[in-house]
């Protein structure tokens, strides 16, 4: 069933709910990153898990400031990117299943593939299958830096793993990576302090491995909240930024980036003078980092969300009425994007482009 709007449709005529991106702001965020990294040796490796859309990945790479490739979270996401012409992918999750490893190694016939790793047995499986395919897979040791997820726990574990990799012929140790997060709304000084503290563990590990003779061309760390700090830490070669492009309220303190992506809904009912119902619910927007906010209506709050609708608290005297459109800004955007089939690109007030979110549902 094709219910996509025609190019040129006015934003007020869109069927809602729908997921839009403002193209001027999208380009502004890309240009900002391009300019920021223009004079630096480190570069951005944009995370494709956030938008899952090859057309956007190509725009990021073409705009500049990147390593010329992307991160992908899953093999299936990497497949979509490589099948659409992306030439370098860092898969940031550990890939342990033989079927997935086969799929990943087959991609290495057409693109440069690096993958996160945190144990030797897994590396041996990758090596065995890469040998069958006659390809070389790059391994990036993941270092745990506070997320409580994957990764070796300390530099010595990384060194032990690196020693173990020496015996393997179809994989090569290409570097180190880490994820990290920060809570609240940190100011610039706090971001610098915290990011340096966390990334120092990666740099310490790098130095240890290099002292043992390992060459590590890729040191991949930093995220949107630390894109500027990590970029200037000696030894860091690439930054895994994703959220900066579409943005979310969780990163609202990063004022250099504009809010690009939002869900447009329509007020469907107004039960009384202090509440309204809108046709946006949990199927359409994630609450991973809190309830969404409403663009240009700081006085309206989301007070209840069901799967398909939300109840809004509106101030007495509000002129909001049935049929009005409101835009929800997500607290976290990539868990929202994965719920949709397409982005509607808006320039000014009109639809300029429609992009299928081609890696939607690619979670394996």
């Amino acid at each position: 069933m094709n219910n996509k709007p025609q190019i040129g449709t006015h934003i007020y005529d869109l069927d809602t709910p729908c997921l839009i991106i403002e193209l001027d702001k999208l380009e502004a965020n890309m240009n900002y990153v391009s300019n920021f990294y223009a004079t630096r040796s480190s570069k951005m490796r944009p995370h494709a898990k956030n938008h899952k859309t090859p057309a956007i990945a190509h725009m990021q790479i073409n705009t500049g400031g990147t390593v010329g490739g992307v991160c992908a979270s899953k093999v299936s996401e990497a497949e979509v990117m490589v099948n659409n012409g992306i030439k370098s992918v860092l898969i940031t999750s550990e890939i342990v299943d033989s079927l997935k490893i086969s799929r990943m190694t087959s991609l290495a016939k057409r693109a440069e593939i690096n993958v996160a790793i945190d144990n030797l047995e897994n590396a041996k499986r990758i090596d065995l299958i890469a040998n069958t395919f006659g390809v070389q897979i790059g391994l990036i040791i993941e270092i745990e830096t506070g997320m409580g997820r994957c990764g070796v726990q300390n530099p010595n574990e990384a060194l032990d793993l690196a020693h173990g990799l020496k015996q393997l012929k179809n994989v090569s140790l290409n570097g180190l990576m880490s994820h990290q997060t920060i809570s609240g709304e940190p100011d610039l000084e706090t971001r610098h302090t915290e990011a340096k503290k966390i990334i120092d563990k990666v740099i310490t590990t790098k130095k240890l491995l290099e002292s043992e003779g390992y060459a590590l061309p890729i040191i991949s760390t930093g995220e949107t909240w630390s894109y500027d700090v990590a970029a200037d830490i000696d030894g860091v070669t690439e930054i895994q930024g994703g959220s900066y492009l579409l943005m979310e309220t969780d990163y609202a303190y990063m004022t250099e980036f504009e809010q690009v992506c939002k869900v447009i809904g329509t007020v469907t009912s107004k039960p009384d003078s202090s509440s309204a119902i809108i046709n946006i619910g949990l199927k359409h927007i994630s609450t991973l980092r809190g309830v969404p906010t409403i663009e240009q209506h700081e006085d309206i709050q989301v007070i209840n969300m069901t799967t398909s609708n939300s109840t809004l608290s509106i101030p007495d005297g509000s002129k909001i009425k049935v049929g009005d459109q409101l835009a929800f800004i997500p607290s976290q955007q990539d868990a929202m994007v994965s719920r949709w089939n397409e982005f509607i690109g808006i320039r000014g007030e009109f639809v300029e482009s429609i992009w299928d979110i081609e890696a939607r549902g690619c979670i394996s």
Binding site: D97, M147, T268, K270, S308, S364
Partner: protein, 357 residues
Amino acid sequence: MEKIIFQSLGIKYYDLDTPALLIDVDFLISNINNFNSIAEASNLRIIPYSSIHGSREILKHQVQASNTANQACTNSISEAEELSDIAVEKLIIKSTPISKNQIHRLWTLSQTNSVDVVVSDTQHVANLQQGCYSTNQTLGILVQPISQSEHGNSNILSIINQCDSSPNLQYKGLLIEESPTISLEGYFSTIKLVHSKWPKSEIYAVGESYIKNLSSEHPIDYLIAGCYPVPDKHCLNNFPELSISASILSQIISKPTKQHVVIDSGHKTFGPDLGIPSVIHDSEHEYSKVLEPLKFSAEHGAIRFPEDQYDNIEVQHKIRLLPNSMELCINQFDMMRFIQSDTFIGYKKITGRGLFS
């Protein structure tokens, strides 16, 4: 859109690529039959609500069961359009189409299917009548109370009167849905008022949980329900007669500490906005019995275990999890993997997925 990784029919479900949405057909069918018996005991006929699962295959099983009305309900107009060729007497659309285009689509759908649509405001009725482009079209109208007040009741009566004076709209009855602002008693007083003026009004209630709160002398005719074939944590708590038929198969990808592992499934798999999933304790996989969800990120989940179990849990092990909200979880997938007796028997597309408007 998920790209299917073709795997042979006949393999054990445990060997499927992960994360995978598994549907056990035998439990699916027994759930449908069990729940229909529960509804029958409460003198209710069921109308399947397909937006929970988005699956024509599951809807087909629901419609074929006894005590099920030959109708289907969707949340959006686009989901109803997707079902327009299924053989049911009537499609009910629970969200009111608002834009001119949606209203045009609704009237077009009504030319090939009998359609009832839910409204809650006099403006909805005016918009629908205004959007009618052929004199011989008819649209059924269900009215949803949204406010428990005298003003709210007066609004309901105005809407029904407006329908009666609209040549192409036919008032059918009331639709009630669990609401933070209206109690069951509040609904019942509105129903009594409406029945006193329009005695043929049919009453539709949305959601399985209504059955739990009904007395034997209730006024509800139809129960619009969709979770019972594939119950989630919430539904199973309410109806222990049902069994787990839908689950997520996930794989352990890392064992970074002596107390936790990381699985390949997170928010983008479960949609855990209403609560995190539970690990299903599978008897054939002893390790599953000691695993407990800790936290989930967009892509991954951290699962903890007692330190003395460290040697029993391995990277590559797989576990099944039960989502807290099946509707939000299924919305993350494009495909279901149907299984029977632990064996993979086929892929089924989730045809209603992502059809929001």
